[in-house]
């Protein structure tokens, strides 16, 4: 094996082991920043030694042992410093909280305790609501996803120093807020879990929004999010919304290959070539949805969105789509997570299920919605329904209105083209 080969293999090992490693150390030192530093130290040691000695049989254990030794060294140094500064008392900072008692704890900390529990603590801490969403995303991708700062920066199209700063500030915020390094208890779990799911879905959507011209790290975010979601589903198998989110991501990801045309233009769901849908992922998504429903979680927001995606996934052709079921699902979604966008999508579904006149009625019921006033999709939907009713002049006016409201050049062109065609598709 060349040095290059070994480095790539170490890279792979790091991706497989780093989250558990950081989580395991964090359990001991109770500080996420310190845990990450110690884990990095272990990685450096591996990079120095493994090219010569070969990759150990159990790389995770090797890294953990190395990190623990460093932790003990650190504690010993702090303990000595503390003794020297006796008269001044102890400064309050996480690092100096470690004592001789902790050395014993570290030394006695042996192998196979609950790795799952460690990972959960890490996930919940990285996604703590006291942190801003972009900070949670950066921390989660770094500590749990094994991405480097540079990779995160590329994936989110921000400068690397910005990401680095976000993480530094995030760790400081966690320390200053005195966030206890624990899995939240029953009472808090709902809200805290929602924060975790939000982070994972944010990452997924960032990847999903990427186009083929982008840096390949961006669409790879979908894989990162899916992996994190699947891991969480195994760590918390009793939580239906986790399965709901995984189901939603698996099914959305199943369409990635069908979403863009040869010149990178987006293809709408109803126009996609369904032979290009990934049926392995659809199967996985449907299975995850079934798990959510079996746990009584059919009406959670993610489960409902997944069920909507599943309606399309199950239809062999667009004509086979169960639009009435889609309307019912949007009704349910509007009850738990109402939004004008949900209402508009529901109106589209009503049009498909019960005819354009019914659809138009549903859309017009939204006319007063302030939040939809500058939403260009509304006149677009209206135009589409008017055209189906043969009201071509009215349709043209709506498409022109929609075109004037969108900031996206390509979309504007599509809408203007429909206006020119007298509203015809």
């Amino acid at each position: 094996m060349t040095a290059e080969d070994t480095h790539r293999a170490i890279d792979a090992v790091w991706r497989m082991e780093s989250a558990r490693l950081i989580a395991g150390i964090a359990r001991i030192v109770r500080d996420v920043g310190l845990a990450e530093d110690l884990a990095q130290d272990a990685l450096v040691a591996a990079l120095e030694q493994w090219p010569g000695s070969g990759i150990p049989r159990n790389p995770g254990a090797w890294l953990m042992a190395t990190a623990k030794h460093r932790a003990i060294d650190l504690v010993r140094r702090n303990v000595r410093l503390e003794q020297r500064r006796d008269a001044l008392g102890r400064a309050f900072a996480e690092r100096q909280d470690l004592t001789a008692a902790d050395i014993e704890a570290i030394e006695n900390h042996v192998g196979e305790h609950d790795v799952g529990d460690d990972l959960l603590r890490l996930i919940f801490t990285a996604c703590h609501p006291v942190l801003r969403p972009e900070a949670r995303v950066a921390l989660t991708l770094r500590l749990l996803g094994g991405l480097t700062t540079a990779e995160i920066a590329r994936a989110f199209l921000v400068p690397e120093p910005t990401v680095a700063q976000r993480m530094v500030r995030a760790k400081r915020t966690l320390a200053e807020a005195g966030v206890p390094y624990e899995v939240p208890d029953r009472g808090e779990l709902g809200a805290r879990l929602a924060s975790v799911l939000e982070v994972i879905y944010l990452v997924f959507n960032e990847g999903y929004a990427a186009t083929s011209g982008d840096d390949w790290m961006r669409p790879a975010l979908c894989e990162d999010a899916l992996r994190l979601g699947r891991i969480l589903a195994e760590l918390m198998p009793g939580e239906p919304e986790v399965h709901g989110l995984v189901a939603l991501m698996e099914i959305q990801a199943s369409r990635i290959r069908a979403r863009t045309g040869p010149s990178g233009e987006p293809i709408l769901l109803l126009d996609q070539n369904r032979a290009r849908w990934d049926h392995l992922l659809i199967g996985r998504g449907l299975a995850a949805l079934a798990r959510a429903e079996a746990l009584g979680g059919a009406h959670g927001p993610y489960a409902l969105q997944a069920a909507l995606a599943a309606c399309h996934a199950r239809a062999r052709t667009p004509e086979d789509t169960d639009w009435e079921r889609i309307v019912a699902l949007y009704d349910a979604l509007a009850a738990v997570a109402p939004s004008p966008v949900v209402a508009l999508n529901r109106a589209v579904a009503v049009g498909m299920a019960f005819g354009p006149a019914a659809g138009l009625e549903a859309v017009d019921a939204l006319a007063g919605e302030r939040s939809l006033r500058s939403y260009h999709l509304l006149p677009g939907v209206r135009g589409d329904l008017l055209a189906k009713l043969g009201r071509f002049e009215d349709a043209r006016a709506e498409f022109e209105r929609a075109a004037s409201m969108t900031g996206n050049a390509r979309e504007r062109e599509v809408l203007l083209a429909r206006a020119r065609a007298g509203g015809a598709a």
């Binding site: 790539r8 293999a9 170490i10 792979a12 990079l47 990779e151 390949w216 990635i256």
Partner: protein, 143 residues
């Protein structure tokens, strides 16, 4: 990236001999590890080739040949589909599979959307750069 991991047959699997309870358990645990890590997409065992068939194409002719087939070592006993970030990661996972002596596993990358471009070369190049940068940064800090 996706990889197909193929477990090659040996004489026992071809003879239809099921693995003993301990091996089953180790295999289950290994499968679970991959599921828990979020990398397992699919995995199945295959019946021995005696139950299988081959279909040979020659112009318009189709010839069906029933198993068993002779070259045991080239036959497949089972497969996994895994989702990983690199060929090296696939290899590291497979190394952890609970097989004993004389067994061979083969990994092959699955073709995916061209949108991702040639994912191998830039990624490999970046891993190298990243690792070197990390080591340098750490060494500087250590001083």
């Amino acid at each position: 990236m996706r990889f197909m991991v193929m477990v090659k047959e040996n004489d026992e699997s071809e003879a239809g001999v099921l693995p003993d309870a301990q091996i089953f358990e180790e295999m289950n645990r290994f499968n679970e590890e991959m599921v828990k890590a979020g990398v397992m997409l699919a995995g199945e065992g295959l019946h021995p080739s005696s139950k299988g068939a081959r279909i040979r194409f020659d112009g318009d002719t189709r010839t069906v040949i029933d198993g068993p087939f002779a070259e045991t070592k080239e036959l497949i006993a089972g497969f996994w589909l895994i989702q990983v970030k690199s060929r090296e990661e696939a290899i590291e996972w497979v190394k952890r599979a609970p097989f004993g002596g004389g067994v061979e596993l083969e990994i092959r990358q699955v073709f995916e959307t061209e949108d991702f471009g040639d994912a191998l070369s830039p990624e490999v190049r970046e891993s190298e750069t990243r690792l070197r940068a990390q080591v340098e940064a750490q060494q500087r800090q250590g001083q």
